[in-house]
């Protein structure tokens, strides 16, 4: 019986080992560690005939336990996997900590009252063994016995063997799974990292492209000012490569030395948060300088600490130069405009505002900065007669947009009238409406006046030139008239009633001769013959003419100084001075008044007169005063300027007082003017006194002593009447006379008559001229005396180099007295 029992037991044991082996073989093919545990649990329940099985799996990281419950013990996989989050229950601690099997019965005392994790089946009898490898305990397997069954002693080593086998397998699978998981994680991490890197590279590339295409310098500096980033544009402008620049101190490398200290301060301000734009000079590698405008922001790390700056810099060198150039050009323009007195105006048609430069304001008599700025304010400043024209000009310009020019007068609040001219341009908008008008304005009052004066003087010059030539002819004619008068007066009986008529003719001829001098004064052909004069006589001589000249409305009051000293001056010129002053006085008294003429001896102490300084000494003063309108100070100041006139262009040449000034100045005198508005004007002319005796003005026909020897005069003049007259005058004076109408005829006459003492010849003649004739006759007879006679003056004749030594000059018209005197002079009989 015993052997049979043993054999059975052996057979049973053998079967269980075989089962164990089979389980081991079966499980060895399971790849999943948790499924391995489940399948091992299921096999153990079957092997040991247990009611249930639970497996506790310890998380080696934190010691918490998961339970694989028996509901899934068949290994089909279920829901029963419970994570408790709790540590190994005390009941199994010996199993885990002691790595031993534990067989117990909860119905007995020591295990009673244990709380099992729900839904762990309640334990009655149990057998637990650790699932472990030599390296670690991974959990335990707990078999729950059937109702009343208990586990046998030899169940313990068998379960221990199974658990140990499962433990090693689990370890291997868990390590494998962990390794696989780790490997997956690493692989995933690698992929992620690759992806991130790729993304980062894309972003970097994109950022770099942004940096590179930017046409501004993009620059990052760290806190010390070292370059941490610079874009392509920056490198190109600065002339360095990116590699060279990175890490270098920007301020030391790229800023001119003179600015570094100041700009390092500035850099610190930027770091302190000053976001204002900065303009700095920037040094290029080649030593050039750029002007760069920087805008700065701060770079911060994740914690918000400032780690540097990020700046964009615009190269404004060209713009700066352009702005400078523009400013310079504008300044130059302004300077030019101001100095040329060119005003600028600017009309905005949209707002209706008109802007004037100060120069324009001055041209319209508007105080600087007070122009109201409207078209109407402008037109109000235009001379009333010109307003319509101005409106029309500007209206046309606004319609056509064509350049235009204008000429009009401005009228100032004080009544001043100025001539303005200018040009403008109107810009038209898209629909042809005027948008803006700009232009210039110049005050050309003076220029116009000068132009008018110039034209007037041109006219005068023409008249004078004509008059000069004509005066020559007049003088010939007057010589004839006066000569015949002389002959008639000499021949007629003293009782002849015609004497008076002929005297009238003679007086008129003398006056006419005086007037031709005035014509000639302007052609500088006047014969200036200073003689010693009594001013009272001169005044008396033209008293009558003055009366006619000034009209009936003006009375003449003479106050001639007694014992008046003599002066030395040209008679005609002194007359002219008197006449010009008298005419001015008359013009100053359009409604009549009194013309006062005074003469007096005065002593001057060398003071200035209005026309300049005069030497100290005795003078004769000639005062011409009126009771007229008087003159303003500005008019007085310009009195003696040539072409200055207050009269209309027809009446006045502006030469009257200038002529007076010239004549008085040449005589060594001066002029004073005293004028009061509404009271009148007084001119005082000072002539230096002369100690010489008076020369007769119109010498009475002299009682001529007959010449001792009859002298012969050859008269040559192409004017036949004059020639004949001269012959008769000379014959009356006791000379023998031969006449010739031309130079050639004179040569013949001279050849036929040996006894010719004097040649009296005209200068300008057809054929052989006076000088030519003289040369040829003097060649034949060096002792021949020569007198030129001409209506031209001596200085005109002498300008042509025809008056040599021993040649006298006789100015036409002449009287028989001057003719006889001249002949006696050349004959040495004076």
């Amino acid at each position: 019986m015993a052997s049979v029992q043993i054999v059975d037991e052996l057979r049973a044991a053998n079967a269980r080992f075989r089962s164990l082996l089979a389980i081991g073989l079966d499980l060895s093919s399971e790849p999943d560690p948790i499924r391995l545990l489940r399948r091992a649990g299921a096999a153990a329940r079957h092997l040991f005939g247990a009611a249930d099985v639970t497996i506790g799996v310890i998380d080696l990281n934190d010691g918490t336990v998961q339970y694989l419950l028996s509901g899934v013990a068949d290994g089909a996989g279920g829901a029963d996997r419970i994570t408790t989050g709790a540590a190994v229950p005390a009941i199994f601690r010996p199993v885990v900590a002691g790595r031993r099997t534990l067989r117990g019965d909860t119905r007995s005392g020591d295990s009673a009252g244990w709380q099992w994790p729900v839904p762990h089946p309640a334990l009655r009898t149990f057998l637990a063994a650790p699932i472990a490898s030599p390296a670690a305990v991974y959990g335990w397997m707990c078999l729950v016995g059937r109702e009343d069954a208990t586990f046998a002693d030899d169940d313990e080593p068998l379960l221990a063997a199974l658990s140990a086998q499962v433990g090693r397998m689990y370890e291997k699978l868990a390590l494998l799974a962990a390794a696989r998981q780790r490997s997956d994680e690493i692989e995933h991490e690698i992929l992620e990292r690759q992806q991130a890197e790729l993304t980062a590279r894309h972003e970097r590339d994109r950022a770099q492209r942004c940096l590179d295409v930017a046409q501004v310098i993009l620059l990052s500096l760290d806190l010390d000012g070292r370059i941490t980033l610079i874009n392509r544009c920056g490198c190109e402008l600065l002339g360095w490569t990116e590699r060279e620049l990175l890490g270098r101190d920007f301020l030391d490398t790229c800023l001119p030395a003179r600015t570094r200290v100041a700009l390092r301060h500035r850099f610190h301000h930027v770091l302190d948060g000053d976001g204002a734009a900065v303009e700095t000079p920037v040094l290029t590698r080649s030593g050039g300088e750029l002007l760069v405008e920087w805008r700065n922001t701060l770079l911060r790390d994740d914690a918000g600490r400032v780690i540097g700056t990020f700046s964009s810099g615009t190269d404004i060198t060209a713009r700066h130069r352009a702005v400078e150039a523009l400013r310079t050009a504008e300044e130059r323009m302004r300077f030019a405009l101001q100095n040329a007195n060119v005003g600028v105006w600017d009309m905005n048609y949209r707002t209706g505002t008109l802007r004037w430069s100060e120069t324009v304001e001055a041209q319209y008599g508007v105080p600087p900065g007070t122009f109201a700025g409207t078209i109407e304010a402008f037109v109000a400043r235009v001379h009333p007669d010109d307003r319509a024209g101005v409106r029309e000009t500007f209206r046309k310009a606004a319609e056509s947009g064509a350049d235009f020019s204008f000429h009009h007068r401005s009228i100032w609040p004080d009544g001043t009238v100025r001539w303005l001219s200018g040009a403008g341009r109107v810009q038209l908008g898209d629909h042809g409406e005027p948008v803006r008008g700009v232009g210039t304005s110049v005050d050309d009052t003076e220029r116009r006046a000068l132009e008018e004066q110039y034209l007037q003087s041109q006219k005068m010059e023409a008249i004078a030139l004509l008059a000069g030539g004509v005066a020559h002819d007049f003088n010939n004619l007057l010589t004839e008239i006066l000569g015949h008068c002389e002959l008639l007066l000499a021949d007629l009986d003293p009782d002849d009633t015609r004497q008076a008529d002929i005297s009238e003719i003679q007086k008129a001829g003398a006056r006419a001769a005086g007037l031709t001098r005035q014509l000639m004064a302007f052609s500088r052909k006047e014969a200036i013959e200073p003689t010693v004069l009594d001013l009272n006589v001169v005044v008396g001589g033209i008293r009558e003419m003055l009366g006619r000249l000034i009209g009936d409305d003006v009375s003449v009051a003479l106050k001639l100084g007694p014992e008046l000293a003599r002066i030395k001056a040209d008679h005609g010129q002194v007359e002219q001075v008197l006449m010009n002053l008298a005419v001015n006085a008359r013009d100053a008294m359009p409604r009549g008044g009194t013309l006062r003429i005074e003469t007096a001896n005065v002593n001057l102490d060398g003071r200035e007169t209005m026309t300049g300084p005069v030497a100290p000494g005795p003078y004769v003063a000639l005062t011409v005063a009126d009771t007229g309108t008087g003159m303003t100070a500005p008019v007085q100041a310009r009195l003696f300027e040539p072409f200055f006139t207050t009269k209309g262009p027809v009446q006045g040449t502006g030469l009257g007082l200038a002529t007076v000034d010239g004549i008085v100045r040449r005589s060594g005198g001066g002029i004073d003017v005293c004028s009061e508005i509404g009271r009148g004007t007084s001119f005082t002319v000072y002539f230096p006194q002369s100690l010489d005796a008076v020369t007769a003005i119109i010498a009475p026909p002299p009682i001529v002593p007959p010449p001792i020897r009859i002298q012969t005069v050859l008269v040559v003049d192409d004017a036949a009447a004059l020639c004949e007259l001269t012959r008769r005058l000379l014959q009356r004076l006791g000379y023998a006379v031969l006449v010739a109408a031309t130079g050639d005829e004179a040569l013949r006459v001279f050849a036929e008559n040996a006894a010719i003492d004097v040649l009296l010849t005209d200068v300008v003649m057809p054929g052989t001229s006076g000088p030519e004739l003289t040369r040829r006759l003097v060649e034949q007879r060096p002792t021949l005396k020569v007198i030129y006679m001409s209506g031209y003056t001596e200085d005109v004749i002498s300008q042509h180099g025809v008056i040599g030594s021993g040649i006298a000059f006789l100015h036409k018209p002449f009287t028989s007295a001057t003719l006889g005197g001249k002949i006696r002079e050349v004959m040495g009989q004076c």
Partner: protein, 65 residues
């Protein structure tokens, strides 16, 4: 010619000369030896007046009577 006045005055003088000369001629007997002198004077005065007229139109001025 200077301001119209001188010219006017000049013309007046010539007119006076011519006037008196014409008077003398008219009063002179046909065989008066002075007649030629009067005629010369009148001729010269007319020539001078012609010359004056050829100098252009008289400037606008108030004639002085």
């Amino acid at each position: 010619m200077i301001d119209g006045t001188a010219r006017h005055d000049f013309k007046n003088q010539l007119a006076i000369i011519h006037g008196f000369a014409a008077l003398l001629i008219a009063e002179a007997a046909a065989d008066d030896p002075r007649r030629r002198d009067f005629e010369e004077i009148a001729k010269a005065a007319v020539s001078a007046l012609d010359l004056l007229a050829r100098m252009g139109p008289e400037p606008v001025a108030t004639p002085v009577t």
